[in-house]
Protein backbone atom coordinates (compact mmCIF):
# COMPACT_ATOMS: atom_id res chain seq x y z
CA UNK A 1 0.00 0.00 0.00
CA UNK A 2 1.23 3.47 -0.82
CA UNK A 3 1.27 6.24 1.77
CA UNK A 4 -1.98 7.82 0.65
CA UNK A 5 -4.29 5.74 -1.40
CA UNK A 6 -8.02 5.76 -1.37
CA UNK A 7 -10.03 2.62 -1.04
CA UNK A 8 -13.58 2.17 -2.17
CA UNK A 9 -15.24 0.14 0.55
CA UNK A 10 -18.62 -0.27 -1.02
CA UNK A 11 -21.76 1.79 -1.53
CA UNK A 12 -19.83 4.77 -2.82
CA UNK A 13 -17.91 5.35 0.39
CA UNK A 14 -14.26 6.05 -0.01
CA UNK A 15 -11.79 5.95 2.82
CA UNK A 16 -8.42 7.55 2.63
CA UNK A 17 -5.72 5.36 4.03
CA UNK A 18 -2.89 7.51 5.24
CA UNK A 19 -0.50 4.78 6.23
CA UNK A 20 -0.34 6.30 9.69
CA UNK A 21 1.33 4.30 12.39
CA UNK A 22 -0.49 3.75 15.66
CA UNK A 23 0.91 3.68 19.17
CA UNK A 24 1.33 -0.07 18.97
CA UNK A 25 3.62 0.15 15.99
CA UNK A 26 1.10 -1.20 13.54
CA UNK A 27 -0.82 0.56 10.86
CA UNK A 28 -4.29 1.94 11.53
CA UNK A 29 -6.88 -0.59 10.50
CA UNK A 30 -10.09 0.55 8.88
CA UNK A 31 -13.05 -1.64 9.68
CA UNK A 32 -16.65 -1.54 8.64
CA UNK A 33 -19.27 -1.81 11.37
CA UNK A 34 -22.80 -2.33 10.09
CA UNK A 35 -25.28 -1.67 8.51
CA UNK A 36 -26.22 -5.24 9.29
CA UNK A 37 -24.76 -5.72 12.71
CA UNK A 38 -26.57 -7.00 15.78
CA UNK A 39 -25.49 -4.14 18.01
CA UNK A 40 -25.78 -1.02 15.88
CA UNK A 41 -29.38 -0.21 16.77
CA UNK A 42 -30.86 -0.68 13.36
CA UNK A 43 -29.07 0.04 10.14
CA UNK A 44 -26.36 2.40 11.36
CA UNK A 45 -23.08 1.93 9.58
CA UNK A 46 -19.79 3.10 11.04
CA UNK A 47 -16.40 3.22 9.44
CA UNK A 48 -13.88 2.99 12.20
CA UNK A 49 -10.13 3.40 12.17
CA UNK A 50 -8.58 1.23 14.80
CA UNK A 51 -5.16 1.29 16.41
CA UNK A 52 -5.00 -2.16 17.90
CA UNK A 53 -8.43 -2.20 19.44
CA UNK A 54 -8.68 1.53 20.14
CA UNK A 55 -10.96 3.73 18.11
CA UNK A 56 -8.99 6.51 16.47
CA UNK A 57 -11.50 7.76 13.92
CA UNK A 58 -15.17 7.11 13.48
CA UNK A 59 -17.45 8.11 10.69
CA UNK A 60 -21.16 7.28 10.61
CA UNK A 61 -22.59 6.45 7.20
CA UNK A 62 -26.30 7.04 7.14
CA UNK A 63 -29.13 6.76 4.65
CA UNK A 64 -29.83 3.05 4.82
CA UNK A 65 -33.33 3.76 6.02
CA UNK A 66 -33.99 6.84 3.94
CA UNK A 67 -37.72 6.77 3.39
CA UNK A 68 -38.37 10.11 1.72
CA UNK A 69 -40.80 11.07 4.48
CA UNK A 70 -40.32 14.81 4.09
CA UNK A 71 -40.87 14.63 0.33
CA UNK A 72 -43.81 12.30 0.79
CA UNK A 73 -45.51 14.85 3.02
CA UNK A 74 -45.50 17.39 0.20
CA UNK A 75 -47.76 15.04 -1.73
CA UNK A 76 -50.20 14.54 1.13
CA UNK A 77 -52.91 16.85 2.39
CA UNK A 78 -52.44 18.53 5.76
CA UNK A 79 -54.51 16.02 7.69
CA UNK A 80 -52.97 13.05 5.87
CA UNK A 81 -49.44 14.10 6.82
CA UNK A 82 -50.01 12.99 10.40
CA UNK A 83 -49.85 9.31 9.48
CA UNK A 84 -46.41 9.77 7.95
CA UNK A 85 -45.01 11.67 10.94
CA UNK A 86 -45.66 8.55 13.04
CA UNK A 87 -43.11 6.64 11.09
CA UNK A 88 -39.95 8.71 11.19
CA UNK A 89 -39.04 8.32 14.84
CA UNK A 90 -40.85 5.06 15.25
CA UNK A 91 -40.25 4.78 18.97
CA UNK A 92 -42.15 7.96 19.77
CA UNK A 93 -45.00 8.36 17.26
CA UNK A 94 -47.37 10.55 19.33
CA UNK A 95 -44.56 13.02 20.06
CA UNK A 96 -43.89 13.34 16.32
CA UNK A 97 -47.60 13.86 15.77
CA UNK A 98 -47.53 16.57 18.39
CA UNK A 99 -44.67 18.50 16.78
CA UNK A 100 -46.46 18.48 13.43
CA UNK A 101 -49.88 19.26 14.91
CA UNK A 102 -48.49 22.19 16.91
CA UNK A 103 -46.79 23.57 13.80
CA UNK A 104 -49.97 23.38 11.71
CA UNK A 105 -52.05 24.84 14.53
CA UNK A 106 -49.62 27.71 14.95
CA UNK A 107 -49.89 28.55 11.25
CA UNK A 108 -53.68 28.42 11.44
CA UNK A 109 -53.86 30.31 14.72
CA UNK A 110 -55.84 27.57 16.40
CA UNK A 111 -55.86 26.75 20.12
CA UNK A 112 -56.98 23.30 21.18
CA UNK A 113 -59.32 22.77 24.17
CA UNK A 114 -57.80 22.00 27.60
CA UNK A 115 -58.87 18.35 27.58
CA UNK A 116 -57.08 17.81 24.28
CA UNK A 117 -53.93 19.36 25.76
CA UNK A 118 -54.10 17.10 28.80
CA UNK A 119 -54.57 14.02 26.61
CA UNK A 120 -51.63 15.15 24.47
CA UNK A 121 -49.45 15.40 27.58
CA UNK A 122 -50.60 11.95 28.73
CA UNK A 123 -49.77 10.40 25.35
CA UNK A 124 -46.41 12.21 25.17
CA UNK A 125 -45.35 10.96 28.58
CA UNK A 126 -46.52 7.41 27.88
CA UNK A 127 -44.49 7.54 24.69
CA UNK A 128 -41.42 8.85 26.48
CA UNK A 129 -41.73 5.95 28.90
CA UNK A 130 -42.09 3.34 26.18
CA UNK A 131 -39.20 4.86 24.24
CA UNK A 132 -36.94 4.77 27.30
CA UNK A 133 -38.07 1.21 28.00
CA UNK A 134 -37.07 0.07 24.53
CA UNK A 135 -33.77 1.90 24.98
CA UNK A 136 -33.06 0.25 28.31
CA UNK A 137 -34.09 -3.19 27.12
CA UNK A 138 -31.98 -3.15 23.99
CA UNK A 139 -28.97 -1.44 25.57
CA UNK A 140 -29.08 -3.91 28.43
CA UNK A 141 -29.20 -6.73 25.93
CA UNK A 142 -26.20 -5.39 24.04
CA UNK A 143 -24.14 -5.15 27.22
CA UNK A 144 -25.08 -8.64 28.31
CA UNK A 145 -28.05 -8.02 30.63
CA UNK A 146 -30.56 -10.03 28.68
CA UNK A 147 -33.25 -10.08 31.36
CA UNK A 148 -33.61 -6.29 30.99
CA UNK A 149 -35.22 -6.85 27.62
CA UNK A 150 -37.85 -9.12 29.11
CA UNK A 151 -38.69 -6.77 31.98
CA UNK A 152 -38.74 -3.59 29.89
CA UNK A 153 -40.86 -5.02 27.10
CA UNK A 154 -43.38 -6.28 29.64
CA UNK A 155 -44.13 -2.70 30.71
CA UNK A 156 -43.86 -1.42 27.16
CA UNK A 157 -46.59 -3.84 26.21
CA UNK A 158 -48.94 -2.41 28.83
CA UNK A 159 -48.31 1.03 27.32
CA UNK A 160 -49.04 -0.31 23.86
CA UNK A 161 -52.26 -1.83 25.18
CA UNK A 162 -53.24 1.65 26.30
CA UNK A 163 -52.34 3.04 22.89
CA UNK A 164 -54.55 0.44 21.35
CA UNK A 165 -57.42 1.22 23.68
CA UNK A 166 -57.35 4.95 22.97
CA UNK A 167 -56.52 4.93 19.26
CA UNK A 168 -57.01 1.39 17.97
CA UNK A 169 -53.35 1.01 17.11
CA UNK A 170 -50.35 -0.31 19.01
CA UNK A 171 -47.48 1.73 17.68
CA UNK A 172 -48.38 4.25 14.99
CA UNK A 173 -51.32 5.80 16.71
CA UNK A 174 -51.77 9.01 14.65
CA UNK A 175 -53.65 10.02 17.77
CA UNK A 176 -52.60 13.66 18.01
CA UNK A 177 -53.85 15.60 15.03
CA UNK A 178 -54.02 19.25 14.03
CA UNK A 179 -57.07 20.58 15.83
CA UNK A 180 -57.04 18.19 18.75
CA UNK A 181 -56.86 14.46 19.17
CA UNK A 182 -58.43 11.56 17.32
CA UNK A 183 -60.98 10.57 19.94
CA UNK A 184 -61.76 11.07 23.60
CA UNK A 185 -60.20 8.74 26.17
CA UNK A 186 -62.38 5.75 26.95
CA UNK A 187 -63.17 4.83 30.59
CA UNK A 188 -61.10 1.67 30.13
CA UNK A 189 -58.11 3.74 29.03
CA UNK A 190 -58.30 5.87 32.17
CA UNK A 191 -58.62 2.69 34.18
CA UNK A 192 -55.54 1.14 32.60
CA UNK A 193 -53.65 4.40 33.05
CA UNK A 194 -54.51 4.51 36.74
CA UNK A 195 -53.25 0.96 37.24
CA UNK A 196 -50.11 1.75 35.24
CA UNK A 197 -49.31 4.87 37.27
CA UNK A 198 -49.64 2.88 40.48
CA UNK A 199 -47.47 0.00 39.27
CA UNK A 200 -44.78 1.81 37.28
CA UNK A 201 -42.61 3.26 40.11
CA UNK A 202 -42.20 -0.26 41.47
CA UNK A 203 -41.11 -1.47 38.06
CA UNK A 204 -38.54 1.32 37.78
CA UNK A 205 -37.19 0.19 41.17
CA UNK A 206 -36.93 -3.26 39.67
CA UNK A 207 -34.83 -2.01 36.77
CA UNK A 208 -32.62 -0.11 39.17
CA UNK A 209 -32.16 -3.24 41.27
CA UNK A 210 -30.97 -5.00 38.16
CA UNK A 211 -28.65 -2.33 36.78
CA UNK A 212 -27.76 0.63 39.00
CA UNK A 213 -25.39 -1.20 41.32
CA UNK A 214 -24.70 -4.08 38.96
CA UNK A 215 -20.87 -4.34 38.80
CA UNK A 216 -20.83 -5.45 35.16
CA UNK A 217 -23.17 -2.69 34.05
CA UNK A 218 -21.16 -0.12 36.01
CA UNK A 219 -17.81 -1.24 34.64
CA UNK A 220 -19.20 -1.18 31.12
CA UNK A 221 -20.65 2.34 31.41
CA UNK A 222 -18.82 4.44 34.03
CA UNK A 223 -16.12 6.55 32.42
CA UNK A 224 -17.10 5.30 28.98
CA UNK A 225 -18.10 7.76 26.28
CA UNK A 226 -17.34 10.98 28.13
CA UNK A 227 -18.94 14.07 26.64
CA UNK A 228 -18.28 17.37 28.37
CA UNK A 229 -21.03 19.93 28.70
CA UNK A 230 -19.20 22.28 26.28
CA UNK A 231 -18.81 19.59 23.65
CA UNK A 232 -22.40 18.54 24.03
CA UNK A 233 -23.60 22.09 23.48
CA UNK A 234 -21.24 22.81 20.60
CA UNK A 235 -22.17 19.59 18.80
CA UNK A 236 -25.87 20.27 19.20
CA UNK A 237 -26.75 17.33 21.42
CA UNK A 238 -30.12 17.44 23.08
CA UNK A 239 -32.27 15.31 25.33
CA UNK A 240 -30.65 12.80 27.70
CA UNK A 241 -27.35 13.24 25.81
CA UNK A 242 -27.21 16.88 26.89
CA UNK A 243 -28.72 16.38 30.33
CA UNK A 244 -26.37 13.46 30.96
CA UNK A 245 -23.58 16.04 30.63
CA UNK A 246 -25.08 18.20 33.35
CA UNK A 247 -26.93 20.79 31.24
CA UNK A 248 -30.47 21.27 32.53
CA UNK A 249 -32.13 21.90 29.19
CA UNK A 250 -35.55 20.44 28.63
CA UNK A 251 -37.97 22.01 26.17
CA UNK A 252 -40.87 21.08 28.41
CA UNK A 253 -39.42 23.57 30.92
CA UNK A 254 -37.62 26.04 28.66
CA UNK A 255 -40.29 26.52 26.01
CA UNK A 256 -43.42 24.87 27.40
CA UNK A 257 -46.06 23.64 25.00
CA UNK A 258 -49.42 21.89 25.44
CA UNK A 259 -49.70 23.12 28.99
CA UNK A 260 -46.47 21.59 30.34
CA UNK A 261 -45.95 24.78 32.36
CA UNK A 262 -48.81 23.62 34.61
CA UNK A 263 -47.13 20.39 35.69
CA UNK A 264 -44.62 19.97 38.44
CA UNK A 265 -41.59 17.93 37.52
CA UNK A 266 -37.84 18.13 37.71
CA UNK A 267 -35.41 18.15 34.83
CA UNK A 268 -33.24 15.10 35.27
CA UNK A 269 -29.53 15.80 34.94
CA UNK A 270 -26.32 14.03 35.79
CA UNK A 271 -22.81 15.43 36.09
CA UNK A 272 -21.14 12.14 35.27
CA UNK A 273 -21.03 12.98 31.53
CA UNK A 274 -20.64 9.31 30.60
CA UNK A 275 -22.82 6.39 29.55
CA UNK A 276 -23.76 5.73 33.17
CA UNK A 277 -24.84 9.35 33.60
CA UNK A 278 -27.11 9.11 30.58
CA UNK A 279 -28.58 5.94 32.01
CA UNK A 280 -29.29 7.69 35.33
CA UNK A 281 -30.94 10.57 33.48
CA UNK A 282 -33.28 8.23 31.68
CA UNK A 283 -34.20 6.38 34.88
CA UNK A 284 -34.96 9.71 36.56
CA UNK A 285 -36.98 10.85 33.55
CA UNK A 286 -39.11 7.74 33.76
CA UNK A 287 -39.95 8.57 37.36
CA UNK A 288 -40.72 12.18 36.44
CA UNK A 289 -42.94 11.03 33.56
CA UNK A 290 -45.00 8.96 35.98
CA UNK A 291 -45.36 12.07 38.17
CA UNK A 292 -46.62 14.09 35.20
CA UNK A 293 -49.04 11.32 34.29
CA UNK A 294 -50.38 11.31 37.85
CA UNK A 295 -51.02 15.07 37.75
CA UNK A 296 -52.52 14.93 34.26
CA UNK A 297 -54.90 12.14 35.18
CA UNK A 298 -55.98 13.75 38.45
CA UNK A 299 -56.62 17.10 36.82
CA UNK A 300 -58.02 15.86 33.50
CA UNK A 301 -60.50 18.58 32.52
CA UNK A 302 -63.88 17.87 30.98
CA UNK A 303 -64.99 19.22 27.65
CA UNK A 304 -64.40 18.67 23.96
CA UNK A 305 -61.18 17.17 22.62
CA UNK A 306 -61.25 18.95 19.27
CA UNK A 307 -61.57 22.53 18.11
CA UNK A 308 -65.07 23.42 17.04
CA UNK A 309 -64.20 24.33 13.47
CA UNK A 310 -66.08 22.67 10.63
CA UNK A 311 -63.54 23.96 8.12
CA UNK A 312 -60.79 21.95 9.78
CA UNK A 313 -62.34 18.84 11.30
CA UNK A 314 -65.26 16.74 10.06
CA UNK A 315 -68.69 17.22 11.67
CA UNK A 316 -69.99 14.56 14.05
CA UNK A 317 -71.61 11.60 12.38
CA UNK A 318 -75.13 12.32 13.59
CA UNK A 319 -75.10 15.81 12.07
CA UNK A 320 -74.63 14.29 8.62
CA UNK A 321 -78.15 12.86 8.80
CA UNK A 322 -79.85 16.18 9.37
CA UNK A 323 -77.70 19.03 8.07
CA UNK A 324 -76.90 19.83 4.46
CA UNK A 325 -74.11 22.15 5.64
CA UNK A 326 -72.49 19.28 7.50
CA UNK A 327 -72.58 17.08 4.41
CA UNK A 328 -70.91 19.81 2.35
CA UNK A 329 -68.21 20.32 4.98
CA UNK A 330 -67.64 16.59 5.19
CA UNK A 331 -67.35 16.31 1.42
CA UNK A 332 -64.98 19.26 1.13
CA UNK A 333 -62.72 17.99 3.90
CA UNK A 334 -62.39 14.52 2.47
CA UNK A 335 -61.96 15.54 -1.15
CA UNK A 336 -59.62 18.50 -0.94
CA UNK A 337 -58.91 19.02 2.76
CA UNK A 338 -58.39 22.33 4.45
CA UNK A 339 -55.94 25.01 3.50
CA UNK A 340 -53.41 26.61 5.80
CA UNK A 341 -52.50 30.32 5.60
CA UNK A 342 -49.15 30.98 3.88
CA UNK A 343 -46.13 31.28 6.10
CA UNK A 344 -43.52 29.19 7.82
CA UNK A 345 -43.16 28.09 11.38
CA UNK A 346 -40.80 26.04 13.52
CA UNK A 347 -42.07 24.19 16.54
CA UNK A 348 -39.98 21.95 18.77
CA UNK A 349 -41.06 19.44 21.36
CA UNK A 350 -39.04 17.28 23.73
CA UNK A 351 -39.06 13.66 22.64
CA UNK A 352 -37.38 10.78 24.42
CA UNK A 353 -34.29 11.54 22.36
CA UNK A 354 -34.19 15.31 22.55
CA UNK A 355 -35.39 18.25 20.53
CA UNK A 356 -37.83 16.98 17.95
CA UNK A 357 -38.54 19.97 15.75
CA UNK A 358 -40.88 20.44 12.86
CA UNK A 359 -40.46 23.22 10.32
CA UNK A 360 -43.46 23.70 8.08
CA UNK A 361 -43.83 26.00 5.08
CA UNK A 362 -47.28 26.66 3.68
CA UNK A 363 -48.10 28.40 0.43
CA UNK A 364 -51.76 28.64 1.30
CA UNK A 365 -52.86 25.47 -0.48
CA UNK A 366 -54.21 22.15 0.74
CA UNK A 367 -50.79 20.56 0.94
CA UNK A 368 -47.60 21.62 2.70
CA UNK A 369 -44.96 23.32 0.57
CA UNK A 370 -42.20 21.83 2.70
CA UNK A 371 -41.99 19.88 5.93
CA UNK A 372 -38.63 19.49 7.61
CA UNK A 373 -37.94 17.57 10.76
CA UNK A 374 -35.15 18.49 13.12
CA UNK A 375 -34.40 14.96 14.19
CA UNK A 376 -32.82 14.59 17.60
CA UNK A 377 -31.20 11.28 16.66
CA UNK A 378 -29.45 12.79 13.64
CA UNK A 379 -27.86 15.58 15.65
CA UNK A 380 -27.04 13.21 18.50
CA UNK A 381 -24.90 11.22 16.08
CA UNK A 382 -22.46 14.14 15.79
CA UNK A 383 -20.80 13.69 19.21
CA UNK A 384 -20.32 9.97 18.52
CA UNK A 385 -16.72 10.30 17.35
CA UNK A 386 -15.84 12.54 20.28
CA UNK A 387 -17.31 10.04 22.71
CA UNK A 388 -15.82 6.92 21.16
CA UNK A 389 -12.29 8.31 20.74
CA UNK A 390 -9.61 6.10 22.31
CA UNK A 391 -12.16 3.60 23.57
CA UNK A 392 -12.24 -0.10 22.75
CA UNK A 393 -14.48 -1.47 20.03
CA UNK A 394 -16.62 -3.19 22.64
CA UNK A 395 -17.17 0.12 24.45
CA UNK A 396 -18.32 1.64 21.19
CA UNK A 397 -21.40 -0.57 21.51
CA UNK A 398 -22.20 0.97 24.89
CA UNK A 399 -21.68 4.44 23.43
CA UNK A 400 -23.94 3.88 20.45
CA UNK A 401 -26.46 2.36 22.82
CA UNK A 402 -26.63 5.33 25.17
CA UNK A 403 -26.76 7.79 22.27
CA UNK A 404 -30.15 6.14 21.61
CA UNK A 405 -30.36 6.92 17.93
CA UNK A 406 -33.36 5.71 16.00
CA UNK A 407 -32.29 5.26 12.42
CA UNK A 408 -35.72 6.05 11.08
CA UNK A 409 -35.32 9.43 12.72
CA UNK A 410 -31.79 9.93 11.39
CA UNK A 411 -32.54 9.06 7.76
CA UNK A 412 -36.23 9.96 7.56
Amino acid sequence: MTDTDTAEIGMGVTVTKTGETGAFGGELLTINFGPHHPSTHGVLRLIVDLDGEQVKRLKPVIGYLHTGIEKQMEALRWQQGVTVTDRHDYLSPPINNLAYALAVEKLMGVDVPPRANALRVIMSELTRLSSHLVWMGTSGLELGAMSMLMYCFRERDTILDMNEEISGYRMHTSYIRPGGVMADATPRFLDLLEKFIVAMPGHVDEYEDLLTMNPIWRSRTIGIGRLSAEDAKVLGASGPMLRGSGVAWDLRKQMPYSGYEGYEFEVATSDMCDCYGRYLVRIKEMRESVKILRQALDRLPDGPVNVDDRKMLPPPREELETSMEAVIHHFKLFTEGYSVPPGDVYVAVESGRGENGCYVVSDGTHKPRRVKFRAASFVNLQPLERMAMNHMVADMVAIIGTADTVLGDVDR
Partner: protein, 162 residues
Amino acid sequence: MGLEALAESMGQNILTTSLGKLIGWGRGNSVWPAQFGLACCAIEMIATATAGVDIARFGSEAFRASPRQSDLMIVSGRVSQKMAPILRTIYDQMPEPKWVISMGACASTGGVFNNYALLQGVDKIVPVDVYIPGCPPRPEDLLNALMILQERIKAQGITPRQ
Protein backbone atom coordinates in the same frame (compact mmCIF):
# COMPACT_ATOMS: atom_id res chain seq x y z
CA MET B 1 -33.17 -59.07 13.03
CA GLY B 2 -36.33 -58.43 11.08
CA LEU B 3 -38.43 -55.33 11.59
CA GLU B 4 -41.13 -57.28 13.41
CA ALA B 5 -38.64 -58.80 15.78
CA LEU B 6 -37.10 -55.38 16.35
CA ALA B 7 -40.51 -53.88 17.11
CA GLU B 8 -41.21 -56.70 19.53
CA SER B 9 -37.92 -56.25 21.32
CA MET B 10 -38.57 -52.51 21.73
CA GLY B 11 -42.10 -52.98 23.02
CA GLN B 12 -44.35 -50.12 21.95
CA ASN B 13 -41.49 -47.59 21.86
CA ILE B 14 -41.06 -47.38 18.11
CA LEU B 15 -42.52 -45.16 15.44
CA THR B 16 -42.08 -45.46 11.73
CA THR B 17 -42.16 -42.52 9.34
CA SER B 18 -40.64 -41.41 6.09
CA LEU B 19 -37.33 -39.60 6.11
CA GLY B 20 -38.89 -36.57 4.42
CA LYS B 21 -41.46 -36.18 7.17
CA LEU B 22 -38.83 -36.54 9.88
CA ILE B 23 -36.60 -33.90 8.29
CA GLY B 24 -39.57 -31.61 7.70
CA TRP B 25 -40.60 -31.99 11.34
CA GLY B 26 -37.11 -31.18 12.51
CA ARG B 27 -36.63 -28.20 10.21
CA GLY B 28 -40.08 -26.81 10.86
CA ASN B 29 -39.62 -26.76 14.62
CA SER B 30 -36.20 -25.14 14.62
CA VAL B 31 -36.47 -22.19 12.28
CA TRP B 32 -33.73 -19.79 13.31
CA PRO B 33 -34.30 -16.24 12.13
CA ALA B 34 -31.47 -13.91 11.16
CA GLN B 35 -31.14 -11.05 13.62
CA PHE B 36 -31.83 -8.32 11.17
CA GLY B 37 -34.06 -5.38 11.99
CA LEU B 38 -34.83 -2.53 9.66
CA ALA B 39 -37.47 -0.18 11.02
CA CYS B 40 -40.63 -0.04 13.10
CA CYS B 41 -41.50 -3.71 12.52
CA ALA B 42 -38.17 -4.70 14.06
CA ILE B 43 -39.41 -3.40 17.40
CA GLU B 44 -42.47 -5.61 17.15
CA MET B 45 -40.17 -8.45 16.11
CA ILE B 46 -38.22 -7.93 19.34
CA ALA B 47 -41.53 -7.86 21.20
CA THR B 48 -42.35 -11.26 19.68
CA ALA B 49 -39.20 -12.67 21.26
CA THR B 50 -40.02 -11.40 24.76
CA ALA B 51 -41.95 -13.11 27.50
CA GLY B 52 -45.41 -11.86 26.64
CA VAL B 53 -45.64 -13.55 23.26
CA ASP B 54 -42.66 -15.87 23.46
CA ILE B 55 -41.57 -17.06 20.05
CA ALA B 56 -39.52 -19.74 21.87
CA ARG B 57 -42.67 -21.86 22.04
CA PHE B 58 -42.21 -22.41 18.31
CA GLY B 59 -38.49 -23.07 18.39
CA SER B 60 -37.52 -19.76 16.80
CA GLU B 61 -36.08 -17.80 19.71
CA ALA B 62 -32.52 -18.23 18.48
CA PHE B 63 -32.04 -15.00 16.52
CA ARG B 64 -28.66 -15.52 14.94
CA ALA B 65 -26.29 -12.62 14.40
CA SER B 66 -24.73 -14.35 11.42
CA PRO B 67 -26.75 -15.12 8.30
CA ARG B 68 -24.68 -18.30 7.93
CA GLN B 69 -26.45 -19.79 10.94
CA SER B 70 -30.00 -18.84 10.08
CA ASP B 71 -32.82 -20.37 8.06
CA LEU B 72 -35.28 -17.52 8.07
CA MET B 73 -35.01 -13.90 7.09
CA ILE B 74 -37.69 -11.69 8.59
CA VAL B 75 -37.66 -8.50 6.54
CA SER B 76 -38.94 -6.27 9.30
CA GLY B 77 -39.56 -2.85 7.88
CA ARG B 78 -39.08 -0.62 4.91
CA VAL B 79 -36.26 -1.42 2.53
CA SER B 80 -34.62 1.65 1.04
CA GLN B 81 -32.89 1.64 -2.33
CA LYS B 82 -29.59 1.93 -0.47
CA MET B 83 -30.33 -1.03 1.77
CA ALA B 84 -31.62 -3.32 -0.98
CA PRO B 85 -28.25 -4.67 -2.20
CA ILE B 86 -27.17 -5.33 1.39
CA LEU B 87 -30.36 -7.21 2.09
CA ARG B 88 -29.78 -9.32 -0.99
CA THR B 89 -26.19 -10.01 0.13
CA ILE B 90 -27.41 -11.21 3.51
CA TYR B 91 -29.95 -13.44 1.79
CA ASP B 92 -27.26 -14.88 -0.44
CA GLN B 93 -25.08 -15.63 2.58
CA MET B 94 -27.77 -17.75 4.20
CA PRO B 95 -27.39 -21.49 3.57
CA GLU B 96 -30.14 -23.46 1.84
CA PRO B 97 -32.86 -24.29 2.67
CA LYS B 98 -33.96 -20.76 3.60
CA TRP B 99 -37.22 -18.90 3.87
CA VAL B 100 -38.29 -15.26 3.91
CA ILE B 101 -41.11 -13.59 5.80
CA SER B 102 -42.01 -10.13 4.58
CA MET B 103 -43.18 -8.41 7.73
CA GLY B 104 -45.49 -5.44 7.37
CA ALA B 105 -46.90 -3.28 4.65
CA CYS B 106 -43.62 -1.51 3.78
CA ALA B 107 -41.66 -4.70 3.20
CA SER B 108 -44.53 -6.26 1.26
CA THR B 109 -45.58 -3.37 -0.99
CA GLY B 110 -43.90 -0.15 0.06
CA GLY B 111 -46.77 0.62 2.39
CA VAL B 112 -47.73 4.26 2.74
CA PHE B 113 -44.52 5.33 1.05
CA ASN B 114 -44.94 5.31 -2.68
CA ASN B 115 -41.86 7.32 -3.51
CA TYR B 116 -38.34 7.41 -4.89
CA ALA B 117 -36.60 6.21 -1.76
CA LEU B 118 -38.19 2.87 -1.00
CA LEU B 119 -38.20 -0.47 -2.69
CA GLN B 120 -41.84 -1.13 -3.50
CA GLY B 121 -41.93 -4.61 -2.03
CA VAL B 122 -39.00 -6.78 -0.98
CA ASP B 123 -40.21 -9.55 -3.32
CA LYS B 124 -38.49 -7.61 -6.09
CA ILE B 125 -35.12 -8.78 -4.76
CA VAL B 126 -35.72 -11.91 -2.67
CA PRO B 127 -38.37 -14.64 -2.96
CA VAL B 128 -40.94 -14.24 -0.19
CA ASP B 129 -42.77 -17.17 1.42
CA VAL B 130 -45.20 -15.42 3.75
CA TYR B 131 -46.44 -11.83 3.69
CA ILE B 132 -47.79 -10.21 6.84
CA PRO B 133 -50.12 -7.21 6.51
CA GLY B 134 -50.14 -4.43 9.08
CA CYS B 135 -48.11 -1.34 9.86
CA PRO B 136 -46.57 -2.71 11.96
CA PRO B 137 -48.17 -6.13 12.43
CA ARG B 138 -48.88 -7.29 15.95
CA PRO B 139 -46.47 -9.84 17.45
CA GLU B 140 -49.28 -12.38 17.19
CA ASP B 141 -49.36 -11.76 13.44
CA LEU B 142 -45.69 -12.67 13.21
CA LEU B 143 -46.32 -15.85 15.17
CA ASN B 144 -49.18 -16.71 12.84
CA ALA B 145 -46.91 -16.20 9.84
CA LEU B 146 -44.31 -18.41 11.46
CA MET B 147 -46.88 -21.15 11.99
CA ILE B 148 -47.99 -20.93 8.35
CA LEU B 149 -44.35 -21.19 7.33
CA GLN B 150 -43.83 -24.18 9.61
CA GLU B 151 -46.71 -26.02 7.95
CA ARG B 152 -45.15 -25.27 4.59
CA ILE B 153 -41.69 -26.41 5.65
CA LYS B 154 -43.09 -29.65 7.05
CA ALA B 155 -44.89 -30.30 3.77
CA GLN B 156 -41.72 -29.63 1.76
CA GLY B 157 -39.96 -32.55 3.40
CA ILE B 158 -36.52 -33.45 2.20
CA THR B 159 -36.70 -31.75 -1.18
CA PRO B 160 -35.15 -28.32 -1.26
CA ARG B 161 -37.23 -25.49 -2.53
CA GLN B 162 -37.20 -25.02 -6.28
